[in-house]
Each structure stands twice: as structure tokens, then as C-alpha cells.
Amino acid sequence: MKDEAVTREDRVASLKGMGCSRKRVEDARFTQGKGNYVDDIKLDGMLFGDFVRSPYAHAKITNIDTSAAMEVPGVLAVLTAADLAPLGLHWMPTLAGDKQMVLADGKVLFQGQEVAFVVAEDRYAAADGIEAVEVEYEELPVIVDPFEALQSDVILRPDTVGEDGSPSDGAHGPRKHHNHIFTWECGDKDPTEQVIANAEVVAEESMYYHRTHPCPLETCGCVASMDKVNGKLTLWGTFQAPHAIRTVVSLISGIEEHNIRVISPDIGGGFGNKVGAYPGYVCSVVASIVTGKPVKWIEDRMDNLMTTAFARDYWMKGRISATKDGKITGLHCHVTADHGGFDACADPTKFPAGFMNICTGSYDIPTAFLEVDGVYTNKAPGGVSYRCSFRVTEAVYFIERMIEVLAIELDMDASELRKINFIKKEQFPYKAALGWEYDSGDYHTAWDKAMNAVDYDGLRAEQKQRIEDFKAGKTRKLLGIGLTHFTEIVGAGPVKNCDILGLGMFDSCEIRIHPTGSAIARLGTISQGQGHATTFAQILASEIGLPADSITIEEGDTDTAPYGLGTYGSRSTPVAGAATAMAGRKIRAKAQMIAAYLLEVHDDDVEFDVDRFVVKGAPEKFKTMKEIAFAAYNQAIPGIEPGLEAVSYYDPPNMTYPFGAYVCVMEIDVDTGVTDIRQFYALDDCGTRINPMIIEGQIHGGLTEALAVALGQEIAYDDMGNVKTGTLMDFFLPTAWEVPNYETDHTVTPSPHHPIGAKGVGESPHVGGVPCFSNAVHDAFRAFGLRQTNMPHDHWRIWRTANELGLHD
């Protein structure tokens, strides 16, 4: 094989490995309508199930009459809690150590709760059947406010009180009240109180991070098919963690795990909505077992918004102390967390408030204390991490608002205050006051780059002029300059402290090299639009020297893929990406031995060069990986098994800590509350960059979801517990029309402990974007005395702020 004409650069380029903006291989099917989503799955004799849902937020159920529904043509069965109880399936465990009703067991706790499951020949008959089920409710007092819940005599969950009427212990320790779920503490309480008591300056603020929803374009759903002949259950579904779902299904159904096959087909967005286990899955499985036919369940948009997986709903109270020059000395944070009727958060078991304890942010804060109280209310369960690692968006919002409030207290520029307090480059690895060890960072470099890129001083000068003009009556528009420096914590995580239901949060990759030099790799993760088939092939291309175009990536089928914990919390690249690199290195190690044999030299005398092994000092003597692959299957090599395969299960030694510096420049019409984003600059540091184009796409998407949350997206309830934002008319999902132009930029600070230095990026823009948009709104009104106004900053709330500040007088 002579290829002298081909330069080394050409060989690198032809691999389309790491750093290349390779086009997404998935898009050919997605853009042609050839994706295969769960609702595309159609099986012979398939039935359709759907729920009778509660119109009330809190009510006793005195009777369910299914007889009329059974008369509806096409309706085959109606399941209620009474049918599931003998199987022990009327309740199911949640990922948070709580349990949740699969079908209402005597009462309902939130509007839209699953009351009965109608199984019919098609979804039209099911819808008619639902109308015909007669449920008698007796309304109970509704509590939608967690503070009221903690005072109220009303017992939301009968299982929270012991026989003597006092609160029983919850999954995370004693309860303070029957509607209380847990207290989670972190850091040093007394020292923090002392530091704050003795501080020169203290800023105190309360903020509400409102309830919202991930709202993926594709809602949740599944198809359950029980084959009674071979005893095998196949479950297709919108699962962000198919292997964990298999284990959970096995544990709760008693079906042996080898007899369950879970398949996540193409998934139309997850954002945390598809991590948990939902009543629809359980009911579909039971219905398939009962009827012997495949059963499909698909949420409609209202079901999705009202019942599966809300996000946020954190009432946060902070105190931050500093010297009068602005050096932060302490931070205290208390959260009242509204979890709704069941605690169904999808957090690692030991972290009932997720990684809220990253709330010291990017700052060197010597002393800190965090306390979170989880509370039941009459709202839907969830508490998922919507496009963020566990509760990281809440944490970053909290600290980035507290910094702004402290800047006001100190009468200091908010950029300057950040610079004074950033953890310095030489302090990494940095042990934070609330326990985490930040692996790497260079915040000052990123920040300065951002400030220069937007001409920060120029913006402030313009803003000063604008304020004067406003006061002189020359304009009715204010200018807001929103700043954010975020530090994320992703890639959960080290098995020693991260598990879900006892399953360690490692991940995996298994590679098979085919004789002709192409390959298939399977992972324990599952793409929901992130482009894994594109980027994981790039990692492998660089690691094993075969072109990315010759590598198939497969995920989501538990019968074929190695066990892994799935995709959420930006964990795919940090964990499964690392497993991929490590498995690739095993392939390479064996390839080296084969190459040495073929080249008739000692193993140590060959070295890897892009797509081949060459004899050290004699680059004209080489074997390409393609040649080596063939040899692995057709040569009898002494001491080496035939074949070329590897598997790696990767337990990360630490989390990764992506960071970024964002700036938002916003015009605000004080008379109408209308906002206009003039500029948005996003600098991200996700360590090693695998595919810059995919990174940019992730940034654009995450920023757009951040804009949504900051400026209007919410799940709102009235006092009766009715959901006021159950359709896309009122639930804000931005379109191209509402989205500004984004300027993206980057620095590269590789993770020191990750095999390829990559940190994860899918969620950074959301985590950093929300406080940045919100800070822009706050900043516009800072000169008029605003300290804190809660999101979402929709027109009327901004108008209210202006009104309360006297700007309409």
C-alpha cells in the first residue's frame, strides 16, 4: 500500500475525527420525515390506551363506574387502581425514593392525575370511552402554595403520618410536618452564620424560580408488547434511560430482566421530560399482559404539560456577605422546593435537591451553607432537570442573581464584582465550600474575552446616556445589560456518590471492528437530538484511526447495547464519551500487537499515527488500521485471540465543570413591557470540542429554551389547582420569530481527568442563558431602584415592575 501522495493532514481530514464540523448523519432521515419515533411503531392487533384524568386538584374518589365505557364500541378494558392493586402495581416507586400512584388510589392529588386507563381498538374509541367513565369526586381543600402546605392541617398524603398522627419518616430522613418531604443540608451552618453576622456588607434577597416544563416537541409515549408464548416483554418508548427503565420494570413487575427488552427509538427531544417512569408505561405493560396484544400510549400536548415532569418551582432565599471592597466572605441559601403531589424528581439518590450545592457558582466563597426543604402540594409531580444537570439551573440562577444584588448593595459594577471573586486559574482543582471539587477552569480569561467582544465599557456608557434621555423624556425605552458567568456540574457521575435507585451512574461503550475496517459501536446512552451517531463516531475515528463515516453508532436497544444510565444531565460525552475513548484505546492496544506481528518488530517498536501503526524511525513501514482489522480476522497470530472487539464501562473519577460567559443586551419598552434582544453573546468553554457545528447547534437550542423560561414560559396554577397554561397558546414555546441572533464564542480548558478532555455542552446555554436574560431585565431597571422581580419576565410583569417603580407617572 503506497499512499505517499496523501499528506498526513489529508489522512487526518479523511477520518472526520474530533474537532471536525462533520455534518450530522442523523439529519438525512430527520429532514426527510424518515425518523422512527414511538408513535410510528405500528404492530399487528395493536390497541390504544389512554387516561381518564382528574379535573380536580384534590379530591376523594367515592366511586368509579366503568360500565358505560365498556359499552362504547371498540373499548376492551378499563383499568382502575382496584385492578392493579392485586398485582401491587397501583403505586410505583419514583426515582426520588418516594412512591406515586399509577392510578388514583382513593384520592387525587393534582389536576390531570391518572384515574383510569381505557384500552380500546384505536385512540378514537379510547377517547370516547374516557368520556363515558363516570367518576364521583368529593372535593378536598386545595393547597398550591408550599408555605401554606407546611402550616396546614390538611394531610395531602395519608402515607406521611404514622399511627399516632405524627409525621412519619420520609426517604431522606424525618419530616418536619406531614406535608414535608425532606430537609437536605450541605456546608457549614454555624460558621456561615458567624461570617454573615460579622460581615461589612450583607445582601439579602428572596426569589422564586417559577414552575415550568421541558415541553419536548414529541410528547411521552410507549408501546408495550407481551409475547405470551416466549414470555418476553418488549417495550418501546421515549426513554432517556432505557436500561434503567428495564431494571425498574423488572423490579416492579417481577418479570425477569432477561425477558424484558426496552427500546428507545428516535426521540424527539427529552430535556429531562423522558427520564422518569410514568403511569402510562405501567398501564400499557399491564394492559398488554391482560389483553395479550400490543398496547400503545401516547400523551397529547395537554397531558404532557399538565402531568409529566414539571421543572423548577424553587423558592430561594439568599444572604451573601462581603467586605466593603467586594470580596465575598459567605453565602447562605435556603430553598423551599415545591414537588407537587409525589416526589418524582430524577436526581441521584443521595441528592434530593440535585446538585443545588453548586450554588457558590464561579466564585471563591470560603464559607457557605445550603438547606433545602421539599414540600408536597396539589400540583403535578416531576422536578426534573429541564435541560440542565440536576437543579443546576436553579443554583446558577440563584448565585448570578445574588451577585447582582450584592453589586447593588456595594454600589459596584457587576462585572467588576465578578472579577474580584472568580476562582483563579491557579486555584484549580478547586475545592468549593459546599463540597465539589471543580476540575479545571480559567474564568478570568473567558470573562475578559467576553467583555472585550461586546465592548462592555461602551455599552455602559450608552446605558448611562439612555438613562439620562429617559429621565429627560426623550425616550420610553430602557437598556439592560445582562451578565452571567456560570459554572456547570455535569457528567454524573462517580459511582461512589452517584446512583439512581442503586444503579451506579457509570456508562459504557462496546466496539466491534469488522474485517474490512469498518465498525459498530454501541453505547448505554440515547440521543434525543444531540447527534450522538455523529459525534461518538468522531471520537472513535480519532482514537482508532478508522473514518467516522465507516463507524455505525447504535444506542437504545437493551438487548444489544451495553448497560448504561442514559442521556440527561449532559452526561453522554463526559461518561459514555469517555467509555468510547477508553474502549477505542483497548482496540488500539490490540491493534498495536497485531501491527508489530505483521511488521515483524517488537510491540514497543511501533507507534500510532492517525490511521496506522508505523515502525518507529521508519515511517515508510506501516500497517493501516484497515489492514490490521483484516489481519485480526484472517491470520493466526500466536498469543493473540482472533477478532477485534472491546468494551469499556467507565466510572468517572469526578464530574466535569463546563463554564461560560454570557452577555445579553436588551431594549425594554416600559409602557408595554415588550422586550427586544439587541445582542446576545455566548462564550462557552466545554473543554475539548468534538464537533463545533453541533456545539453551536446545542448552544442555539439551549439559549432559546433559556429565553423561553426567562421571558414567559411557565406552568401556572390558579388557587383551585387548575393549570392555566395547559396548551401552547399560553405556554410559551418560542419560534424563529421570537429568537434573536446569537453570537457564539469559546475558550478551551480541557478536563484534566477526562480521557479526551471533553466536558459536555448540551445544557450550558440553558443554565447560563436563563440568568443572563433575567439579569438584563433587572439591569435595565437598576438605576430606578429595582433589586429583584421574579420570572417569567413577560410583558405584564415587566410593565408591573415599571409601574411599581413609578415609571408610568
Binding site: D128, E131, D300, D671, E738, D794, H795
Partner: protein, 283 residues
């Protein structure tokens, strides 16, 4: 989100439509673009056992432009936007239509459906009141004409009888300056507040003005008093203030997810002031 079952009828002429309406009474309803009716059916807020699709009924989709402008009931919002002669003669129609819903909805949504629907959120009823349009309906007893300013009684209650079908809207070719100003939360949203304004200028003073507001009451609000406040003035700040306060006496907004009443009243004033200024600058 699945409607109750229904019979689907697709007659090819008006006689066919009317005979089904007469036969089934309350149980029958016509459908134009379906973009208001179908969502209501899917939410099971409208139960329509007999759905009569107007798509194949001829003669309802024309636009004629002269001293009088006539627009057939089945003309879509998109047709309006694309019709250059109409945009020259009555530019407020294109300006308003471009602020309705989104392009996909505008390909389906019709003028007849928009004005017949009776939803206070629809933009065309207010627009038609501003233009002093007349609606033509036909029923078993023949044709009749109803002024837009008298058509709306309450939310979803109009002067049209259940067995009547709207065939066209018509109005005199507007003169003077125009503006359609609308505040909404996002594309595809109904108005937080919207104002339709036509102003005629004579020398430096306002000779006549017509003002109608949208989504600020359970019906569109034609505010004669607001228009009168401008007549004879130079449409300066004081006159605009007077028009705004007259308009505020005529609206009656309710709180919803768009905001509380005080906010809506404030925004209504701002939107109307802007609409007047723009219309005056074009007059």
C-alpha cells in the same frame, strides 16, 4: 385532543349547505378553514354532530375592488395579504392580516370564519367595524345584510342565525391614513390589545376618524367617542389623550394569562396612541 365523532358533509352549493342546516338545526355547523372550530371540537368544547365543509361551495372566494370592496367569506388571510389591488385600495387589511396568527394558519383561516366566529380575540371583527363594513348572510329565508358595528352581541353570540351562512363582507373603499397596531406575546398569539384606525385629514385637521379595539371586551369595541375626540383637532398630544380616554370608557377587559385589567387598559391606551400617530402620519 380527539373530537367526539361527527358526520362530515361536503355539499357543492349553498342550497345543499342550507338544507343540511335546516335538517339538523343546532346539531349542524359550517366549517371554513377550521382553525378556530377544529381546536374547539378537539377540546370537546364544541360538539358538532354534523360538520358542513364549505370548501366546495362555489362563489365564496372572490375579491372585488372598486368604490365598494367585497371579499367573499372563504377568502383566506393569506389571499388578502397576496392581493395587490386590495392592498392598494385598503392597505389596513394587509397590515392587519400580517399580524394574525402565523403563515400556516393564515393559509387556512378565512375572513368569513374570522368574523362569524364571534371570538373577541379575532382581529377582523374590530377591523371590519373600523371600516364600517356590512356582512352578507344567506339563510332559508334569503339574503340579508348586517352592519359589522351591530353584529356582535357577546362572546360567540352574533346577529347571525344558526341557519344562516355568511357569504361576504363589503365596505366602501377607505380614505385617509390607516394603522393596525397589535401587541401580542408571540407569533400566533391573539392580541393583548389591538387598535384599528382610519383617519381622514383635511388641511391640518382631522376630518373624520374611525377607531375599533380588539380583545378588550367580550366583543370588538367600535369607539365612536374616541374617533369624535380627534375630529376637528390637529391630532396633537392632547387630542390623542382625549381619544384614548374616550376609548378607555368603552372597553371592559378581563384578566387572563396576558395580564391583569390595569395592564390591559394601560397597553390599550399606548397601542391606540401609536395607531393614531401612525395613521395620522399616513393621512
Amino acid at each position: 385532543m380527539i373530537p367526539a365523532s361527527f358526520e362530515y358533509h361536503r355539499p357543492t352549493d349553498m342550497a345543499g349547505v342550507l338544507s343540511i342546516l335546516v335538517e339538523h338545526g343546532d346539531d349542524a355547523r359550517v366549517m371554513a378553514g377550521g382553525h378556530s372550530l377544529i381546536p374547539m371540537m378537539k377540546l370537546r368544547m364544541a360538539d358538532v354532530p354534523h360538520l358542513i365543509d364549505l370548501q366546495d361551495v362555489g362563489g365564496l372566494a372572490g375579491i372585488t375592488v372598486g368604490d365598494t370592496i367585497t371579499i367573499g367569506a372563504m377568502v383566506t388571510q393569506s389571499d388578502i395579504i397576496l392581493h395587490d389591488a386590495l392592498a392598494d385600495a385598503a392597505p389596513i387589511l394587509r397590515e392587519a392580516s400580517l399580524q394574525i396568527a402565523d403563515p400556516q394558519v393564515r393559509y387556512m383561516g378565512t375572513v368569513g370564519g374570522n368574523v362569524a366566529n364571534g371570538d373577541p380575540g379575532n382581529d377582523m371583527p374590530g377591523l371590519m367595524q373600523c371600516l364600517d363594513a356590512t356582512f352578507t348572510v344567506v339563510g332559508p329565508n334569503g339574503e340579508r345584510k348586517i352592519p359589522a358595528r351591530e353584529f356582535y352581541e357577546a362572546a360567540y353570540m352574533t346577529g347571525r342565525e344558526d341557519d344562516e351562512v355568511m357569504t361576504a363582507v363589503s365596505f366602501a373603499k377607505p380614505v385617509g391614513g390607516h394603522a393596525y397596531e397589535k401587541q401580542k406575546r408571540k407569533i400566533g398569539d391573539y392580541a393583548t390589545a389591538a387598535a384599528a384606525v382610519q383617519i381622514v385629514k383635511d388641511g391640518g385637521t382631522c376630518a373624520s376618524a374611525s377607531i375599533a379595539m380588539t380583545n378588550l371586551s367580550d366583543t370588538p369595541v367600535y369607539s365612536a367617542a374616541a374617533g369624535d375626540a380627534l375630529v376637528g383637532t390637529s391630532v396633537d398630544g392632547d387630542a390623542i389623550k382625549a381619544a384614548v380616554s374616550a376609548m378607555l370608557n368603552d372597553i371592559d377587559p378581563v384578566e387572563d394569562n396576558r395580564g391583569p385589567v390595569a395592564f390591559k387598559r394601560h397597553v390599550a391606551g399606548v397601542i391606540l396612541a401609536r395607531a393614531i400617530e401612525r395613521a395620522w402620519s399616513r393621512a
